[in-house]
Amino acid sequence: MSPSTRRAFVIGSAIAAVMPLSSARATPEQMRKAIEAVTRGAKINTGKVTLDIPPLVENGHTVPLSVTVDSPMTDADHVRAIHIFNENNPQPHVLHANLGPRSGRALLSTRIKLNASQRIVAIAELSDGGFWSGAAEVVVTLAACVEEIV
């Protein structure tokens, strides 16, 4: 193999290695679109939503995540839904939850998967039609979704 064909091979395989990854991931742009599909262009205010997630995650397969929204949760003023989005998993959606005055508190905890270090965004939809958001940056050392099964 001459040096030039070897170089072509190396470059080609590097592209082949990167291509499926880039096509199988959500991007900040896709996250923005997914959020727009939920808010239908309404203004999103920052605040009220607290996203509790460890800033440094060793294992992306199971990451504890908890969301609280500052709301009295009365019939007149409550959180209708909580949506969570990510930038770098294969799909931009993580979950959405339906709440109401019978929730008592706007609180939700679960465990999620993270494919890479990224920003997580939580959007709360209030009964008055307003949207509030909170975000958190997460650094992941062992990513989910990439492991080989043997």
Binding site: T62, R102, R105, L107, S109, C145
Partner: protein
């Protein structure tokens, strides 16, 4: 029958906000992973969880492949009256599991 753990307080005062924790055994296969033969393993996840308290849905959650295996879900509700809470998980391949817990409210 999938194994399920549900944690609901046995008793509560009327109007008290109670926390409910649930855990269910499920692989939550994303559909993005390749198996030993190089082919993608088909998606197999729970897509919806609901909690019905005395006939009214008090909490609903739509899940995606980004939820970790063996989904843990914790949420709150107001203890309104004595009765049963029915938890239901549904998902791919006809997955459907129901569990109930009773609560007495003074």
């Amino acid at each position: 029958m999938a194994s399920v753990l549900v944690n609901v307080p046995k008793t509560a005062k009327r109007g008290e906000v109670i926390e409910i924790k649930t855990l269910i055994a499920h692989p939550m296969e994303t559909g993005f992973r390749a198996g030993p033969n190089g082919r993608l393993i088909p998606r197999d996840i729970i897509t919806r969880f609901t909690c019905v308290y005395d006939g009214a849905e008090v909490f609903g959650l739509t899940l995606t492949p980004a939820i970790a295996a063996n989904p843990f879900i914790a949420f709150t509700t107001v203890a309104t009256q004595s009765g049963t809470l029915v938890f239901r998980w549904t998902g791919d391949n006809g997955f459907s599991v129901e569990e109930s817990a009773s609560i007495s409210v003074e």
